[in-house]
C-alpha cells in the first residue's frame, strides 16, 4: 500500500517564518504529489474538525488553493451557512451557481450527469481554464488486482485503487472526460484527511 504521511515537524531554523506559510507549503507539496501520481493515497496528516459536511482534507485543499481569484461552486448539501462562511471568510472566494463559471467545485458527493457535463472543460486554446472537482467520499484502499486499474502519466505501469462511498456513475462518466484530452476536468477525491487526485489524463479499467 502506497501511503504518504505528512511530516509534521517544522525545522527549528525556519521557526521564524509565518507558520501559515510553512503549513500551506507542506500541504501544497502533498496535493501536488497526489496530482503527479494519480491514484496515490496521500494523507495530509492534519487533525481538523469538519465544517458542516466538509472534511478536514477538503478544507486543506480549499485553504491551499482558493482565494478571491477562484470562483467556487458548492453543491446543495455542502452549501450551508458554515461552509459558505468558511469560503468567504477564510478564502475570500466568491460563490457561484453556474458550474461553467466555477474554477473549483466542492461537492458532498458525485453530482448527476447533467451537472457533471456542465463544468468547464477549458477551450482548445486554453484547456487550463477548467473546473477542478473536490468530492467527498468514504474511504480509499489500494489492494492489488482489485477495484480500479489506473494508468497514464504519473503512473508506472498500473496503479490499483478502491474507493468506497462514491456513486458508480462517476466511473461511467470518467472515460468520456478523459477522452476529450487536452480538455476535461480534474478531480480530487477526499476522505477525512486523505486525498486521491485524478487528473484528466487518467485511464481507468474496472476490475470485477
Amino acid at each position: 500500500m502506497q501511503t504518504i504521511i505528512n511530516q509534521t515537524g517544522i525545522s527549528a531554523s525556519t521557526a521564524g517564518f509565518d507558520q501559515e506559510a510553512l503549513a500551506s507549503a507542506r500541504n501544497f507539496r502533498l496535493i501536488m504529489d497526489a496530482m503527479a501520481r494519480p491514484g496515490n493515497i496521500v494523507r495530509l496528516g492534519l487533525q481538523k474538525q469538519p465544517v458542516g459536511k466538509m472534511s478536514a482534507g477538503s478544507q486543506m485543499v480549499a485553504l491551499t488553493l482558493c482565494d478571491h481569484e477562484t470562483p467556487v461552486l458548492l453543491d446543495t448539501s455542502l452549501g450551508e451557512e458554515p461552509v459558505e462562511e468558511f469560503f468567504r471568510f477564510h478564502c475570500g472566494s466568491s460563490l457561484v451557481d453556474d458550474p461553467s463559471k466555477a474554477m473549483f467545485a466542492f461537492l458532498s458527493g458525485v453530482p448527476d450527469a447533467d451537472m457533471l457535463s456542465a463544468f468547464s472543460v477549458g477551450t482548445p486554446a486554453y484547456p487550463d481554464r477548467s473546473t477542478t472537482l473536490v468530492i467527498e467520499v468514504d474511504g480509499f484502499d489500494s489492494q492489488p488486482d482489485k477495484g480500479l486499474a489506473l494508468s497514464g502519466p504519473g503512473i508506472r505501469n498500473v496503479h490499483y485503487l478502491q474507493v468506497s462511498g462514491i456513486d458508480a456513475h462517476f466511473w461511467k462518466w470518467w472515460p468520456g472526460n478523459a477522452s476529450r484530452f487536452p480538455l476535461g476536468v480534474d478531480a480530487i477525491l477526499v476522505s477525512d484527511d486523505a486525498i486521491v487526485a485524478l487528473p484528466r489524463t487518467v485511464k481507468l479499467m474496472e476490475i470485477a
Binding site: Q7, F17, L22, A25, R26, L65, T123, D128, G154, T201
Partner: protein
C-alpha cells in the same frame, strides 16, 4: 527592514502559481499562462524557475541549483544564496541528497528518483516560436495539434545538411500530444526526460508560462524513420573521471589550440574521481 515571507513570494502569489502547477501536471506539455511577478533577479536569469521553486519549497527540502551542469557557476550560486536567505532551506551540491533541483541547461547525469523534483529555468517556452513569432498563431497550432511546420523545418535541415541541425532545445512530443520545448538543454539530455521517476516542472518568468512532465510520462524527441534521433558523442572520455557516457565540456587549456574534455556535471565527475581514488 521587513522580513520577507517564506521563500520570498507572498501567499497570494504562491497560490496563483500553485494552481498553475496543478493544471500543468494535469495537461502534460501544455504551457499554462501565469501572472509572473517581477523578481529581485533579472528576467531571463531564471525568474520562472525561481518562482516555481519558491512555490513548491517546504522547510524540509534540500535544494540543489545547477547552471550548465555545475553548482559553482555564478548564477547557480546566486540563486542558491537567494533561497538560503529567503527560505533558510538546506542546500547541497550532491544530486542524491537533493529533494528539489533547479537547473539551467542540463539534467544531472545521476538518475533521478521518485522523491525528487527537477525545476527547469526556461527562456523561450514556445517550441514553435522561431518558426512562427506570433503567440496568436502558435496557440492555434497547439490547439489543433498542427505541428506540420515543425516537421517541415526539421526535414529541411536534413535535406540541406544531411541531418537535423538542432543541438539543444531539441523539441519533444509529450505523451503523444503536445510538442514541448525541453528548455535549452543539449539534446544529449532529452532521453533522460522520458519515463523519468521524478516530477519535472518548467518555469518561464518573462514569457509567463509554466509547464510540466509528470513522472513516468512518455517524452519522445521528434525525428523521422529514415533519420532517427541521436545524441552527441565524443571521441574521448572525460579527462578527469574517465566517463564515456556523460556530456563533456571543452576547456581551452592554452593559446596554442590545446584543449581537453571534462564532464559538465561537476558533482557526478567529482564523485567518480573520489570513487576511483578510493579504489586505488
Amino acid at each position: 527592514m521587513t522580513r520577507y515571507n517564506f521563500a520570498y513570494l507572498n501567499e497570494q502569489t504562491k497560490k496563483m502559481i500553485r494552481r498553475a502547477l496543478l493544471k500543468a501536471i494535469a495537461i502534460p506539455g501544455y504551457q499554462v499562462p501565469f501572472a509572473s511577478r517581477e523578481m529581485p533577479m533579472p528576467y531571463g536569469w531564471g525568474t520562472g524557475g525561481v518562482q516555481v521553486t519558491a512555490s513548491i519549497l517546504t522547510a524540509d527540502d534540500v535544494l540543489k541549483v545547477i547552471d550548465q551542469g555545475a553548482d559553482d557557476t555564478t548564477n547557480a550560486v546566486s540563486i542558491r544564496k537567494f533561497f538560503k536567505k529567503t527560505a533558510e532551506v538546506r542546500t547541497t551540491e550532491v544530486t542524491e541528497d537533493a529533494s528539489v533541483i533547479q537547473t539551467r541547461h542540463r539534467i544531472p547525469e545521476t538518475p533521478l528518483r521518485e522523491d525528487q523534483i527537477l525545476v527547469y529555468q526556461v527562456p523561450i517556452p514556445e517550441p514553435l516560436r522561431f518558426l512562427e513569432p506570433r503567440e496568436t498563431e502558435t496557440r492555434k497550432m497547439h490547439a489543433y495539434e498542427d505541428y506540420g511546420l515543425m516537421h517541415v523545418k526539421l526535414y529541411e535541415d536534413i535535406s540541406q545538411h544531411g541531418h537535423i541541425a538542432t543541438t539543444y532545445a531539441y523539441p519533444v512530443s509529450v505523451e503523444g500530444r503536445y510538442v514541448m520545448d525541453p528548455s535549452p538543454t543539449p539534446k544529449f539530455d532529452n532521453p533522460k526526460m522520458n519515463d523519468c521517476p521524478a516530477l519535472q516542472l518548467f518555469g518561464a518568468g518573462r514569457e509567463k508560462r509554466i509547464y510540466a512532465v509528470p513522472p513516468y510520462t512518455r517524452v519522445v524527441s521528434l525525428d523521422f524513420e529514415d533519420h532517427p534521433f541521436e545524441v552527441q558523442q565524443w571521441d574521448a572520455p572525460c579527462e578527469l573521471c574517465g566517463a564515456r557516457d556523460t556530456f563533456l565540456d571543452e576547456v581551452i587549456t592554452d593559446d596554442a589550440g590545446g584543449r581537453m574534455f571534462v564532464c559538465s556535471d561537476t558533482d557526478y565527475c567529482s564523485k567518480r574521481q573520489a570513487e576511483s581514488e578510493a579504489a586505488e
